[in-house]
């Protein structure tokens, strides 16, 4: 047992740190803008730099563009990115559909789609949830009917993150209406420019436009865009969800967010003393830091097990539950820290730069961050569903 880095790992850390310092776009620095406030090009800038460097998919097999890093190196990579507050890469291509394509796709599909994912020439979005499906993903009702060498797709998807920018959508559709819930589902790749697709924004309570409804009306999708076998889509969907959860603990970014919280609480005054020096606030932050320390080791233990061929497995649900609880709590305490200025509503879209934002620089938007983060215990399989998974798969209940 050992929690320290080897000299090689330390050298790697320095290399990574230097690369980020030299290459992360100046204009993006400062962190913590939500994607709802960023332009499409800003969102992609860092991706494109990493693509050039060959570091855009450390978690992929080397043959498809992976870096071949060890688990520890990937841990360091994540840590360093969080430390520098780089804007996170979009997961839809890199962590979601990419691995599905290289694992279950045919050679044609790999050739056709992987390069665009790596280069970010193709922007992907996720067509999983439907109005009414929620946590019960398998209840989806979007239909795809084979007609010659096309499927005709009708239905709708919702909570589709950043679909407003998307070139492609990976989509679960029902191809056998008579099969039981989880059977009869297929995994289709759909060009967002196909006629019959309409994207309607959903504004969330914090004022952001991150998610959308996508309406599909007689959308023609070539059969060669089917991944794997027809009616076996649920297998690929579950594989994807398993991948999605593994990064969700967000430990490194939460560490950074706590640093920021502490700085704010140092600047805020209670009776002339820094808020951070008050017993009560200090304790709340300490509890949060301890929770996060524990989660960090829990994640490392999971990664260690993974690197030995075990897992990720249902234990990953712990990472989702605890990770999102911590993220939510950080935003909650940050909002608390700014006191009366928590009232300030910062514009989330169409920022003109002329808005009057009172109070210290760090204050505007913190309440909205808190409101926004409530989504994390709902999406990606709600935390209740994660409890069900552990109860069933780990405890055997």
């Amino acid at each position: 047992m050992d929690m320290s880095f080897s000299p090689e790992e330390l050298a790697f850390r320095d290399e990574v740190r230097e690369f980020i310092a030299n290459n992360y776009p100046q204009e993006l620095k400062g962190g913590r803008r939500t994607r709802g406030e960023m332009s499409k090009e800003d969102i992609l800038k860092w991706h494109r730099i990493l693509y050039k460097k060959g570091w855009v998919v450390p978690h992929w097999p080397v043959e498809y563009g992976g870096t071949g890093w060890t688990i520890t190196q990937r841990y360091i990579w994540n840590e360093e990115n969080a430390r520098a507050e780089t804007s996170p890469l979009l997961p839809f291509g890199l962590s979601m559909v990419g691995p599905v394509i290289y694992t279950f796709g045919n050679e044609e599909q790999k050739k056709r789609f992987l390069p665009g994912i790596l280069s970010a020439d193709d922007w992907w979005c996720q067509g999983y949830s439907e109005p009414g499906s929620g946590s019960d993903l398998a209840s989806l009702r979007t239909r795809a009917v084979r007609e010659g060498d096309h499927y005709i797709v009708n239905g709708g998807k919702t909570w589709t993150t950043l679909a407003q920018f998307a070139d492609w959508m990976f989509c679960l559709v029902r191809t056998d209406p008579n099969a039981k819930a989880q059977e009869g589902i297929s995994f289709l790749l759909i060009d967002m420019k196909t006629p019959g697709i309409t994207v309607r924004p959903i504004i969330t309570m914090d004022g952001s436009h991150e998610v959308n409804e996508v309406f599909l009306e007689d959308v023609k999708v070539p059969v060669e865009n089917l991944i794997g076998e027809e009616n076996k889509g649920w297998t690929y969907a579950k594989f994807l969800l398993g991948n999605e959860r593994s990064g969700i603990a967000g430990v490194a970014r939460s560490k950074k967010a706590i640093e920021r919280l502490k700085k704010i609480a140092d600047a805020e005054l209670v009776d002339g003393e820094p808020l951070m020096k008050t017993d009560e606030f200090a304790r709340k932050v300490a509890e949060l830091e301890i929770d996060l320390s524990a989660l960090e080791v829990t994640e490392l233990r999971t990664l260690a097990a993974e690197s030995k061929g075990r897992g990720p497995g249902p234990e990953a649900s712990i990472l989702k539950i605890k990770g999102t609880e911590i993220q939510q709590r950080i935003t909650e305490l940050t909002m608390e820290a700014v006191g009366n200025y928590a009232f300030v509503q910062a514009p989330r879209m169409e920022v003109t730069g002329n808005e009057f934002l009172p109070g210290p620089d760090y204050a505007p938007g913190v309440s909205q961050d808190y409101f926004n983060m409530r989504k994390t215990s709902i999406y990606g399989g709600s935390n209740e569903i994660q409890h069900n998974i552990i109860a069933k798969m780990v405890l055997g209940l």
């Binding site: 209840s139 002339g272 006191g339 928590a342 009232f343 709902i378 209740e384």
Partner: protein, 376 residues
């Protein structure tokens, strides 16, 4: 001991309920708060017409002879409809200062304007460095002939964009956090030297940052005794807390009803999600949090007339209860509504945001817990 409402009080509630049911549905409210104005002066006029703005004033002041319970009833119903119009600031707070601390002349001059709906007020008390401490003031009022000159900065003055008049707390003597030396003034927002910058708040209201630069007021602007304003300020903010508690219970009531309703109809895995025991117990906890909040709201509203220590405990206790309950009920209402709960379209997120801000107003759970434990 008696927990029932009088006939007049029940009538008052019915009046408010039918007005709001008619004129204050969620979609209307959503549109209104997005306009440049952000509120409806004509709604305010209706409040006046129906006597709501007169409810808690005694008959000799031209009111209807009610008090805290009337405020409670109105604010609870306002909470259920997320009413943004500044009843709290104008009637409860400014009205309270005039009633409790104002001279006969001030009362006669100013209360009719409140009751008639002509004057809207805001309460400029918080300062950036002061957080929730009502005595932590750098705004000063210097004696200047028979009047005063006010200099300073007030933060997050809720409802100020709509107001004509301000209640302003300022230091006439003493050091920054002394309990002594604080005075309360009436200032016209249009007075020379008052400048405001307005902005929207996350709960659909408006606020201003206000700078006072050599603002001259007369001797008649002072409410109560010079330098002895803090006990009055504490009393009135406790009255505001009592009213906010009622507003919060209104919000929670709606959230709980909406959540139970949603869980009865929304199906997942082939059954209404309200059949899942974990969600059932969650809703029971939400229900209990609401009931306990109602209890503390009754208690604070019934104890506003007691001595300082008892009133403080009741107000701080109520604020802690609604702060904790509001957070829990709000978060869980969103959680149980799933993605829908996150949207701007549904009312759930708006109640949640308002409850969150109520916790901040006049000091959050931490602040009030400390205040409670320090009260004699």
């Amino acid at each position: 001991m008696d927990f029932s409402f009088t006939e007049e009080q029940t009538l008052l509630r019915n009046t408010v309920q039918s007005l709001l049911a008619d004129k204050y549905d969620f979609d209307t409210r959503r549109k209104v708060v997005k306009t440049a104005e952000g509120w409806r002066p004509e709604m305010w006029a209706q409040f006046a017409e129906l006597g709501l703005l007169a409810a808690p004033f005694s008959e000799e002041l031209g009111g209807l002879g009610g008090g805290a319970i009337e405020n409670m009833i109105i604010m609870e119903e306002f909470g259920r409809h997320l009413v943004v119009e500044p009843y709290l600031e104008t009637v409860v707070i400014a009205g309270g200062f005039l009633r409790e601390g104002g001279s006969k002349e001030q009362q006669e001059a100013l209360i009719p304007g409140i009751i008639g709906g002509e004057t809207v007020w805001a309460f400029a008390y918080a300062e950036p460095q002061g957080r929730y401490n009502l005595a932590d003031l750098t705004t000063t009022a210097k004696k200047d002939g028979s009047g005063y000159t006010i200099n300073g900065y007030k933060a997050v003055v809720l409802g100020a964009p709509w107001a004509q008049k301000l209640i302003v707390t300022a230091r006439t003597s003493g050091a920054q956090r002394d309990r002594d030396g604080i005075s309360v003034f009436i200032v016209d927002k249009s007075a020379a030297g008052v400048s405001t910058r307005d902005y929207p708040t996350v709960d659909g209201r408006r606020a201003s940052e206000i700078t006072f630069e050599n603002v001259k007021v007369g001797a008649d602007a002072l409410i109560g005794t010079e330098g002895k304003g803090l006990p009055l300020i504490e009393k009135i903010t406790d009255e505001a807390i009592a009213a906010l508690s009622a507003e919060a219970t209104g919000c929670m009531k709606e959230l709980n009803t909406a959540t139970v309703e949603y869980c009865k109809t929304r199906k997942q895995f082939g059954v209404p999600i309200g059949k899942f025991q974990v969600l059932q117990h969650r809703m029971v906890d939400m229900f209990m949090a609401y009931e306990q909040s109602v209890s503390m709201t009754y208690m604070v509203n019934l104890k506003l007339g007691e001595g300082d220590a008892e009133r403080t405990k009741a107000a701080a206790g109520a604020k802690v209860q609604i702060g904790k309950a509001g957070r829990f009920v709000g978060q869980q209402a969103v959680q149980l509504h799933g993605g829908m709960g996150m949207t701007d379209e549904l009312n759930v997120g708006h109640y949640f945001k308002r409850l969150t801000m109520i916790d901040t107003q006049f000091g959050n759970v931490d602040y009030q817990l400390k205040r409670y434990s320090e009260a004699a």
